[in-house]
């Protein structure tokens, strides 16, 4: 069951560095305050880096869930 009411899901699994980071930023720019972005990612470096980048942009990182070995779901609330 989905824990959050996700507005948009961004699947960046398998993409080369830094596509996951850049696509996340681009997606967030198009979203409205209060909406929730779900990022599906399988790259450890980006999974560690994206939450910090997003916080610096002023958005809220709700949770980083490890959904499978080396796969994460990052939930971001747009501010």
């Amino acid at each position: 069951m989905a824990k959050y009411e996700v507005t948009k899901t961004l699947d960046v699994m398998g993409e080369v560095c830094p596509v996951p980071d850049v696509e996340t930023k681009r997606a967030l720019k198009k979203m409205k305050p209060g909406e929730i972005l779900e990022v599906l990612i399988d790259y450890a470096m980006s999974a560690e880096r994206i939450p910090e980048t997003v916080k610096n942009m002023g958005h809220e990182v709700l949770e980083v869930v490890e959904s499978a070995p080396s796969e994460w779901k990052i939930y971001i609330k747009v501010k």
């Binding site: 699947d11 450890a44 470096m45 880096r49 910090e52 610096n56 080396s70």
Partner: protein
């Protein structure tokens, strides 16, 4: 003694993987996300390596052997290499350790990188190096100096001063930057200061062992991949250099599997494979004509204060920023 190459490669590969030490990210994030986390790891490591290399040379454990500076190819090659690493999704060491993580794009990138470097150093593209080598600047050092007898120019050889003077000033400036300025925070497995220290120690020990095995340089990526391809294609015995890069791939794979980070990763858009092949080509060509990649020049050459490595490092970063702008910053 060639086996020590495998051992050092294993340790280095595991460290790069667990520490996510990618110079492409280090350079790019400074601009793209105003994030200096990875850059500070490598700068700290360079500062400590500077002291370690000079110390080892002082004790006679190594002779520092910086690459020749070339007015044309150092600048041109480094800029091409810097752009290539953005397309390939990693620097030379980055794509090497990602091979072990199961990143399929990196497999294509290293093949393109290694084969192009081979062709540039020994094959169909070798005329470029031959044509440009007349602009090489080398110098001769006294037998009792810290440097190999005939090698690339350094800050101390240009200024004609004791190598320790620029070495200590450079290391101090790096340390001031690392500890005196604000660091971006990030949750990681290994503390960044510890990681910077470990990388420098491994690099310093690798130089000594490589020297003992008759190969006068520290870690590299480009030359070692060429040597690995060479032994594969020409049935030559594996040497320190080829074993070190083989070790990096295996070390990274072991670390990735042990930490459950190994996964066959494939991008959804097949065009990505074309992009990384082109990136690998540019990296292989660039790193061959400028006599070094991000490891040979930035990680090992900067600590020796080689003029070639200083110029190359600047143009790696400029090339990286240029391609990052075209690929990721134009919205």
């Amino acid at each position: 003694m060639a086996w020590t190459g495998l051992l050092m490669g294993l340790i280095f590969g595991a460290l790069l993987q667990q520490g996510r030490v990618c110079f492409n990210s280090a350079f790019r994030d400074l601009r793209l996300t105003k994030d200096n986390y990875t850059f500070k790891i490598v700068v700290l490591s360079v500062a400590l390596s500077t002291i370690l290399f000079h110390f080892s040379a002082q004790l006679g454990w190594i002779k520092m052997n910086p690459a020749a500076f070339n007015w044309v190819s150092t600048i041109l090659g480094a800029f091409i290499f810097g752009m290539g690493m953005v397309l390939a999704g990693g620097c030379a060491s980055g794509i090497t350790y990602r091979v072990g993580e199961g990143m399929t794009t990196a497999w294509f990138a290293v093949f393109s990188f290694g084969l192009t470097a081979y062709a540039t150093k020994k094959g169909a593209l070798n005329w470029v190096i031959k044509g440009l080598s007349k602009f090489d600047v080398r110098t001769t050092y006294a037998a009792d100096s810290l440097y190999a007898p005939k090698t690339g120019v350094t800050v101390s050889s240009v200024l004609n001063i004791n190598p320790w003077i620029p070495a200590l000033i450079f290391a101090a400036l790096c340390l001031w930057y690392v500890f005196g300025t604000k660091t971006t925070q990030r949750k990681t497995k290994i503390n960044w200061i510890l990681l910077g220290i470990l990388l420098a120690v491994v690099s310093g020990v690798a130089y000594i062992l490589s020297y003992k095995a008759g190969r006068n340089y520290g870690f590299g990526i480009t030359g070692p991949w060429v040597d690995l391809f060479s032994s594969f294609l020409n049935a030559q015995k594996l040497n320190w250099s080829s074993l070190s890069v083989l070790g990096m791939v295996i070390g990274s794979a072991i670390a990735a599997i042990a930490s459950k980070e190994f996964k066959l990763r494939m991008p959804k858009n097949p065009m990505t494979y074309v992009q990384v092949l082109l990136g690998g080509f540019m990296m292989g060509f660039g790193a061959s004509i400028d006599y070094g990649c991000n490891i040979g020049h930035f990680f090992v050459g900067l600590p020796m204060l080689a003029i070639s490595s200083i110029i190359a490092s600047v143009f790696f970063i400029l090339g990286n920023w240029t391609m990052t702008y075209f690929l990721y910053q134009r919205d």
